[in-house]
Symmetry: C2
Subunit: 402 residues, 2 copies
C-alpha cells in the first residue's frame, strides 16, 4: 500500500436515492479506519482519468453536511457511462488511471454503481494484479433495478419501491373517485427485471384491491390476454402496473419506441410507452376510460420518501466496503445476505460473478402472468420500512450539491 | 330551517390532496355548531339525487379516523362530473333533489369543488330562493389548478405546488449527474392557468438554476423561440417546466393529442404530450439528449408530501363554510383573503362571481415568456410551508376509504 494510504471513491450509472448514503458510508469508513484521506473522483472513473478529485473529508466535516448528503438523491460526485476497454487492448487508459492513483497516494478505490461499474472494478483489479500493483478495488452495489447477482437486494431498490408503493396507492385513491369504469395503467421502470413493477403490489390494501394486474418483463405479454384480464375484473376502477419492458411471446417489445433503434453506450435500448400502448388498446378495444401514467425518473430520485432501511443499509455497505478494501480484498463487490426475518449481514463476492449478470424476479415470486405471490411481498416489505429525516427549507427538501 | 337541522356535504370535480381535509372541517364544524347530524352524499350531487348518504358523525367519531381522513388524498365521498340543468328546464331534477333534502331534514348543503361545482351551488341556491325554500348552499373551493376567482388561492394548490417543487428539485439532481448536455422537459398540469407550472420555480436553488425555463399557457409559445432559448443557455443540464396547455400565437395547442377531439362532459379537451413534442424537437433540431417527464395525476394525489399550511387551511375553510351556512348565508363560496405576510382571513363571496370564471396567472407574476417574477415566489412560497404527519403502516402511507 501507498504510504499516503488514501481512499478514493466514485459513483457511476443511473442515479438512486441511496447512492449518496453509500458515499457517506465510504467517507465515514475511511476516516474511522484512519485512511490518509478520502477523495471523490468527479463523474465516475472519468474523474480519475482527468485527475479531477474533491477532498471529501473537508467537504463533509460537519454533521449538517453529512445529513444532507445522506438525504440528497442522485450522485453528489456525478456519474458517467464510461466503459473500460479490455485490459489487453486499452493499455493507455489503464496506465493513465494507475499513474493518477500513484500520484495521489491512493491505495483503495471504491466504485458505487451497477453491473457496468462492477465490470470496471473487475478490470481494474485484474490489471493491478497482473502488474503487481498493491491496490484494492471494491464495488458498492447500487441500482433501483435490484438486478445485481449474488446480493439479496441492492441499495436504492427499497427507496424506489417505497415511492412506487406510495404513488400506486395514492393513484388508487385518485381513480376511485368516479363512479364510471376506468383503467389506469402505471408504467414502471425495469427493462428486463420486474423488481420495481412487482413493488407496486406493496400498495395493495386488500385481496383483489389495486393494483389489480401486474405485468412483469419475466413473463410474456399478450394483448388479447391483457384485454381479457381487464374484462374479467369486476372492479369499477382498475389499476394496472406494467413494466416498461414487457414483450410478446416472440420477444418483441410492446412499447412502440423500441423501433426507434436508439440505444445508450452499453447497447441498452431506450424504452418508453408500454403504458400508452395499453391505454389506447383499452380505450379502443373495450371503450373504457383509460389513462397511462409513466412514473419515470422520480422512481430513482424521490428521496423525499426514501426508505430509512434502504438509506441506512446503503451507508453501512459503503462503510463495509472500505473495511474490506483496507484489509486487502480486491475485485469484489459488497453484498447483502438476509438472515432471519429481517436482518442483513454484509460480505463480499467476486465481481466476476456479478459483472454483466442480471438477476431477474424468480418464478416463485410470480403468480401466473399477471400478479406476484405472497412470497414476493415477504421479500420486499422489509426493504421499504421507515422514513428518513428529510430536511425541509422554505417548504421543500434541502439538498447538498457541488 | 328544518327541525332536524342536518348538514349535508359532497365532493366534486378532480381529486386533490386537500379535499378530505375540507370534508373533515365540515364534519367538525357541523358537530361543534350543534347541527342535528352531518351526512355525506356519495359521488357528489348524484349522491343526493340517488339518496345515497353516509352518516359522517358516526364514521369519523375517532381521532384516528379523523387524522387519516385529513391525510388521505382524493375524495372520500367520491366525486362526479354532473352538470346541473338550467333551473327553468330541469324541473324534475331539482324537485328530486329538494325532495331528498326535505326527507332527510337537511337545512344546509356544502359542496366542495371547483368552478363547475360552484355553478351547481349557484343554481341550487337560486332554485331554493325562487321557491322560498329555507335552505343554505355554500361552496368550499378546491382545485389544484388555483384558478378560482375572488379567493387568494385554492385549497389543494399548495400541496400540488409542494409536490411539483420537490419533484422538480429532485429531477434537477437526477439530471446533473452526467457531464453531457441534456434537456429535461417536465410537463405540468394546468390547461389554461399556469399556477402549477409556475410552482416549478419554487425548486430553484440559485439564480440561473433549475428550472431554467418556465412556459405558462398565459403567454404564447413558439417552437423557434423555445429552441433559441435552449441554445442561449450555458447550463449543461437544462430543466424546463412546461404547461400541458401551451399554445402558439394562433391559439393552437403544441401537444399533439388535441387533434384527437376527445373532451370531457364539460367540453374540456383532454391534453397530454406537450413535453414529448418539446423533447423530440430538442433531440431532432439541436441533437441534445432530451427527456420528457409528465408529472400526471400524482400532482393532485401525492398526499405524502402535502403542505401542512394547505391542509390546515382546507380544514378551516370547510369549518367556516358550515358556520356561514348555519347563519343563513347561501349562494356563496368561501374564499381566502391574504393579510400581512402571511396570514389569511376567510369570508364568503357570491358564487355568481366565481362559477365559470377562471383566474389566470397575472402579468405581474410572469417574466417575458419563459420565466416567473420574484413576486410570484412571494405569493406562492407561504402556501407550501410545513409537512403533514402522514401515517405510515408497513412502510407506506395509510389511507381511509369507503
Amino acid at each position: 500500500m501507498s504510504a499516503k494510504n488514501f481512499v478514493a471513491v466514485a459513483q457511476s450509472g443511473g442515479p438512486t436515492a441511496a447512492i449518496n448514503a453509500s458515499l457517506l458510508g465510504v467517507i465515514r469508513g475511511a476516516l474511522s479506519e484512519k485512511a490518509g484521506g478520502v477523495l471523490g473522483a468527479v463523474n465516475g472513473i472519468t474523474g480519475v482519468l482527468n485527475d479531477n478529485f474533491i477532498d471529501l473529508k473537508e467537504t463533509f466535516a460537519s454533521d449538517e453536511a453529512r445529513h444532507l448528503l445522506k438525504t440528497t438523491p442522485a450522485a453528489y460526485l456525478g456519474s458517467c457511462r464510461h466503459k473500460m476497454p479490455d485490459i489487453n487492448s486499452g493499455e493507455g487508459e489503464y496506465e493513465r488511471i494507475f499513474e493518477v492513483f500513484k500520484k495521489r497516494g491512493i491505495s483503495a478505490f471504491l466504485y458505487i454503481g451497477g453491473n457496468d461499474s462492477m465490470d470496471t472494478v473487475h478490470k481494474l483489479s485484474a490489471y493491478a494484479r497482473a502488474g503487481d500493483i498493491p491496490m484494492s478495488f471494491i464495488g458498492i452495489p447500487k441500482t433501483i433495478d435490484n438486478d445485481l447477482a449474488v446480493t439479496d437486494h441492492c441499495p436504492g431498490y427499497g427507496s424506489a419501491a417505497k415511492y412506487i408503493g406510495a404513488i400506486v396507492r395514492e393513484t388508487a385513491r385518485d381513480c376511485e373517485v368516479y363512479n364510471t369504469k376506468s383503467v389506469t395503467v402505471i408504467e414502471i421502470m425495469g427493462r428486463n427485471a420486474g423488481w420495481l413493477t412487482a413493488a407496486a403490489a406493496l400498495a395493495r390494501e386488500k385481496e383483489g384491491g389495486a393494483p389489480h394486474l401486474i405485468y412483469l418483463p419475466e413473463t410474456s405479454f399478450s394483448m388479447d390476454g391483457f384485454l381479457s384480464d381487464i374484462k374479467s375484473l369486476t372492479a369499477q376502477n382498475i389499476v394496472v402496473a406494467v413494466s416498461e419492458g414487457i414483450r410478446d411471446k416472440n420477444g418483441a417489445y410492446i412499447c412502440e419506441d423500441a423501433s426507434s433503434g436508439l440505444s445508450d453506450i452499453f447497447g441498452h435500448k431506450y424504452l418508453s410507452g408500454a403504458g400508452k400502448v395499453l391505454e389506447r388498446a383499452v380505450h379502443e378495444e373495450l371503450g373504457y376510460k383509460a389513462r397511462a401514467i409513466e412514473l419515470n425518473t422520480p422512481q430513482r430520485s424521490a428521496a423525499h420518501i426514501a426508505s430509512l432501511t434502504d438509506i441506512n443499509e446503503a451507508e453501512e455497505i459503503g462503510r463495509a466496503g472500505v473495511c474490506a478494501a483496507l484489509s486487502g480484498e480486491t475485485g469484489k463487490m459488497m453484498v447483502f445476505e438476509r438472515t432471519g426475518d429481517y436482518a442483513i449481514e454484509i460480505r463480499s463476492a467476486l465481481t466476476e460473478k456479478i459483472a454483466n449478470a442480471e438477476k431477474k424476479v424468480p418464478p416463485g415470486y410470480i403468480r401466473g402472468n399477471n400478479d406476484i405471490t405472497p412470497e414476493f411481498l415477504k421479500y420486499a416489505r422489509p426493504l421499504i420500512q421507515g422514513e428518513t429525516r428529510t430536511v425541509f427549507e422554505n417548504g421543500l427538501p434541502k439538498h447538498i450539491f457541488r
